[in-house]
């Protein structure tokens, strides 16, 4: 793989998506996925502010002010799209009708707990749809760099940041590797971009098993 780590993470996460999947994409790395997916990938994108069938971003002179995604950025709607209100949108999410949520995180624990909305010591003033998505989506894919800018591991024994939800992660993709949560066990299943087992071990403070395909 090439390019910057964020794009590589997004590209690997995109491989987790299957034709027909209804997918909600968080802000940041997940939002790089639409630019990576093949147009015929058959993935349907849901945005929680009320649209199923998100299309590509519009040209600047074709922006529709009534048409944004959850990042409040202009989008388009594909043929066959549907609009709905916020209660209906979160009914879809909470009710398990969205197949996959791809989101960024600050920490993921060995038990799949996710912390992605608040940093301790700062005021906790925005949660948006994060909690609904990690609880409601059938499959939760976390995309994040393996460590913080300061080099601290983000796959940790226990989250020290405020939780978004317990045991919610199914897959964790970093620039170094892919972890899967299998019946409560954290398992390293794939090395990425030339990373070694040692590279992953150094960047990870959680205990994990290794079952490389």
């Amino acid at each position: 793989m090439s390019g910057d780590p964020r794009t590589r993470i997004a590209a690997r996460a995109a491989l987790e998506l299957e034709p027909g999947d209804v997918v909600n994409l968080g802000i940041g790395i997940p939002n790089l996925i639409p630019g990576i997916l093949a147009p015929d990938a058959g993935v349907v994108i849901h945005t929680e502010n009320g649209l199923l069938g998100v299309g590509p971003r519009p040209a600047q002179d074709a922006v529709d002010p009534d048409l944004v995604d959850a990042a409040k950025l202009p989008v388009t709607a594909l043929p066959g799209a549907a609009y709905f209100d916020s209660a209906d949108s979160f009914a879809m999410i909470r009710g398990g009708h969205v197949d996959v949520a791809v989101l960024g995180a600050l920490q993921v624990s060995a038990a799949g707990d996710i912390a992605n909305w608040a940093v301790p010591g700062r005021d906790v003033l925005g949660v948006g749809g994060a909690m609904d998505l990690v609880v409601g989506a059938r499959r939760v894919i976390v995309t994040m760099t393996a460590t913080t800018g300061a080099g601290e591991p983000k796959v940790v024994p226990e989250c020290t940041y405020p939780l978004t939800a317990r045991g919610a992660a199914d897959v964790v993709v970093t620039e170094l590797s892919v972890f899967r949560l299998r019946e409560g066990r954290l398992v390293l299943v794939e090395l990425l971009g030339g990373a070694t087992l040692d590279d992953v071990a150094r960047a990870t403070s959680a205990a994990y098993e290794v079952e490389l395909g």
Binding site: G20, P79, G80, A87, I93, R94, G95
Partner: protein, 221 residues
């Protein structure tokens, strides 16, 4: 996007298994999935069904036919009285039933589709229908705790579907159909008309296609 699976009514109904909880849309026969009900009556062996539907058909029509075949073990509804055979089956001990106020019935189906664990409603408190239910005073008013109503399979009728499976309902034929489409493990929709993608205005879609698993052309309009 991926087209919804188009199948025959028989193929669709073959997914109904004995013992299933099956939701059936419609208010009386209006908005009822009559093509799918016919297939369930004529081509399926599934027995021991729990039917969740506002009414249990009318005598010898719609779900009333399934009742005559003795294949309904239990019915969950707001109104059985319109089918005297359903009343007779209850009296003869051949049909188990649960009666809910119509608004509670609708809301419980919505709650299942919306991933809620339950809700409190003031309706029914202090009545026979409160028996066995948890009551709680909220702001001084007695409320009942009601649980979500889920199904294995939902059978719904829409006037129009597009090839993705988006649904549009007409007039008062909407009723319970969109709620049920969201509340089942497998949703089978029949549509009076199936149009190309783009044939339903995005603001007018009442059931977005992610709720629909199988699509069947309705025999009658």
């Amino acid at each position: 996007m991926t087209s919804v699976r188009r199948v025959s009514a028989e193929q669709a109904i073959s997914r109904v298994r004995s013992g299933d909880v099956v939701m059936v849309g419609g208010f009386g026969l209006v908005g009822a999935p009559l093509t799918l009900i016919d297939a369930l009556v004529e081509t399926s062996d599934a027995r021991d069904l729990t039917i969740v539907s506002n009414n249990v058909g009318e005598a010898g029509r719609g779900l009333g036919l399934l009742l005559r075949q003795g294949r309904i073990r239990k019915a969950i509804a707001s109104y059985f009285t319109s089918n005297p055979e359903a009343v007779a089956a209850v009296n003869a001990g051949q049909l188990d039933y649960q009666l809910l106020p119509q608004g509670t019935f609708a809301e419980a189906i919505r709650a299942a589709g919306a991933g809620l664990g339950g809700f409190y409603t003031p309706v029914g408190a202090g009545t026979l229908l409160a028996e066995g239910k948890e009551e709680r005073l909220i702001d001084g008013v007695p409320h009942l705790l009601e649980r979500p109503l889920r199904a294995d399979v939902a059978l719904v009728h829409a006037a129009r579907a597009d090839e993705l499976g988006n649904l549009w309902y007409r007039g008062t034929a909407r009723n319970f159909n969109p709620l049920m489409a969201a509340a089942a493990g497998l949703t089978i929709a029949e549509a009076g008309e199936i149009v190309p993608v783009g044939g339903i205005e995005p603001e007018a879609v009442a059931t977005p296609h992610l709720y629909v698993d199988l699509l069947v052309g309705a025999k009658r309009l």
